[in-house]
């Protein structure tokens, strides 16, 4: 549970207790108009009653915990002492990168990130100096099945300068169709005549793979050819024929 959620629950419970207290006070006030001694007695009883309710609730909650532990034990699990997770590492705190880089590397290689964490992975790529950290962080984004991870990879492709890293990123892109944002990005790379030939080729291979899966066509369909610049038609045809043969 996150710290903020724990605080929220504690606040709700406190407010509930205050409400119970105020309810007691209300009862006290109402009773005072009838008989003072009776009021004092009922207040004490009310407090005791509420106290017992709290005790019961606590006992119920702890019982649930004991039951969960028993369930684990019944299924062959045993309870062991371990250090709690290092939240700098599991939450990829960029400020802790230099101090804990080797742990970051394990975290990046052995877990898959999701949601807001994906942006932090991207930050790690941009911040890390170690080629290994950068490599495994890019790899980690490529492993994620979330579309946002693909968007971060495309951002990174534009931000990194090394051709090896651009190639690594291209190898991890997975357009769902040639018309989605990843497909459009790949076509933009193919169109980019100033781009390195290797990168244009790799983008073309990916486009052809997806198109072949969708169409299985012997020749490049016109709708796809129309999106490829003329200087690249011959190359694109070759790639198509080669992969089609495969």
């Amino acid at each position: 549970m996150t710290r903020s959620r724990a605080l929220l629950i504690a606040l709700v419970l406190s407010l509930f207790s205050v409400y119970l207290l105020l309810s007691d006070s209300g009862t006290e006030k109402a009773s005072a108009r009838r008989a003072v001694p009776a009021t004092a007695q009922s207040t004490a009883t009310g407090r005791e009653k509420k106290h017992q309710q709290v005790v019961k609730l606590v006992e119920k909650k702890n019982q649930e915990i004991r039951e969960e532990r028993k369930r684990f034990e019944r299924e062959g699990w045993s309870f062991v002492e371990t250090a709690p997770p290092d939240h700098d590492v599991i939450e990829l705190n960029p400020n802790a990168l230099s101090e804990k880089e080797r742990y970051f590397q394990v975290q990046l290689q052995t877990t898959t990130f999701w949601g807001e964490e994906l942006a932090k992975v991207k930050q790690i790529v941009l911040k890390a100096r170690s080629p290994k950290t950068r490599f495994v962080a890019i790899e980690s984004l490529g492993r994620s099945e979330e579309p946002a991870a693909q968007a971060h990879l495309i951002d990174l492709y534009r931000l990194v300068s090394k051709i090896e890293e651009k190639q690594q990123i291209l190898g991890l892109l997975r357009p769902k169709s040639l018309d989605d944002f990843v497909g459009s990005f790949l076509f933009s790379e193919i169109e980019n005549v100033s781009q390195h030939q290797l990168l244009r080729e790799q983008a073309s291979v990916l486009v052809v793979s997806v198109a072949l899966m969708q169409t299985g066509s012997e020749d490049v369909p016109d709708s796809i050819k129309a999106r490829v610049p003329e200087d690249w038609h011959e190359k694109f045809d070759d790639i198509w024929k080669n992969l089609r043969r495969k």
């Binding site: 207790s17 709690p84 590492v89 099945e145 291979v205």
Partner: protein, 527 residues
Amino acid sequence: MDGQLKKTGMFIVLVAFLSLHSEVFAAADEDAKIWCKSGNGTVCSEYELNNPIEYKQVLIFPTGFAADEYELFRDEVDRMIFNMDVNSNLYSHTYLSKLLYIGYWLPGPALDSGEANFGAKISVHPIRNKALTLNQDAVIATVDAIKESVTPWLAPWGVMVLYNSRESQVTANASPPSFIMNSYGIAKINRKNIDGPYVAIHELAHAALNFVDEYTERGLENVNINVLNYLTSQAYFDKSWGGFRLGIASILGIYDLKISEILAANGSGHVDVTKYPSRVESPRREKEYYAYQGGMFFGKGTYHHAGRNIMNGNRGSDAPDDGYSLAHNDSQLEIVRQVFENGGVPFRPNDRIRNAGPHGNWPSAIGGATNVMVFDADKNNHYQPTKSYDIQIGWYERHWKVCKWKFVRYPCYKSVWTTAEKQVKSAVRAIDLKETQLYGFAKLVRDVLCDLGVMEIPNGNGKVKLCEMTVDEMTDAFVPTLQFPSPYQEVSVPASQWMTKYFYRFRTDNGTFKSGWTGWSTFIRTL
């Protein structure tokens, strides 16, 4: 008759046949049906034959040799052994005296008769020229029958089938044992292939050392193996997964499984889908570095260690220390030393692991029970398979108590980090993929599998010969299911609290080393 009965019947017939024709084993006898020579030419001793841990048996069968071609077969076996001894760091030279080449004479019809031993044929390869194909079950049944009737000490490290053909432009191939889930693999070579040292050493490395190719297939220089991951959603867990038999498409995003890992990070020990195969920190272990791309025929997305070697080729890399040579690179050498010098005992932990899910939310729609998934590239490692996994589940347990503020008593809790641990045995898991669902990739996948020596696919009670038919013929006639050993395994976790964040991690035990732990992954059970 079902498949099992057929196999049993075939085995009984073979035992009877071999018993009738068996002769007393006479290694030096020039007319022996079965004979054995070590790599340095000496006759194998009884001690050597009875110590398969120390001495490795390479069993060689003929196919297409007629009854009067006994001398030819023996001479060809001698020629092959002689040619495999190249002055290098190759296993076939360094451990010459520990390699026992066992010839077994089995005359039979010619290759073009359609009735040669083991159903062997020279077929049109789906992609390249011609290929050597055979019925691998028949080879395995013959080995079992020989062991039963003649030679109880027989424990092949690898089996080679020598085709009586000198045809060129024929692609030799071999099945690594982990891909056919057998204790040894099967190499297929013809007489032309043994004119030089390369083919026999390379194919036996597949069949016995469980090595995979590090070279890149022509036309795939710029193709990333990750394109095959489009097929992952078409895969299914087979019956080995028990109750956890979900369509993989329905759980992608919660779990991340990859066809690329199933093909290229699955038991070989010298090729991976990352430059940094040691994914966790293990005690006394220097992390490996696979400097170059290329492997399993793909030019991109697979990686291997630097150093020119026998499993590599010269296509796709200009680096001076990457490409072909009659040698091993360091990661191959480590496996060779493990096999020949260390009695098979691993030199490294099984540290090629990662958490494969769940990631993020665990929706109730998936089911009440939670399963975590481990990925382990050494799960099916032929020489150091993982024996067990230590799984840890952690969470912040709420220890409730009564708190007091002035006169108010209210429930409050302290979060206490709690960890439960369980040891789970590594179990066989397989993944099925229907060939009709491969779309435009059918030929590519076929090429990869045929080169891997995965030639037969179960189809009902019989088998489909994958490498003897075109994709179109196959689709018209059958819908074969490709089956892959899985590097993934699920572990059921009795986590029951909704909206609670659970953490999990694991490590492996290969019987010698425990690996380091993976990082903590998290999931939340949501409604």
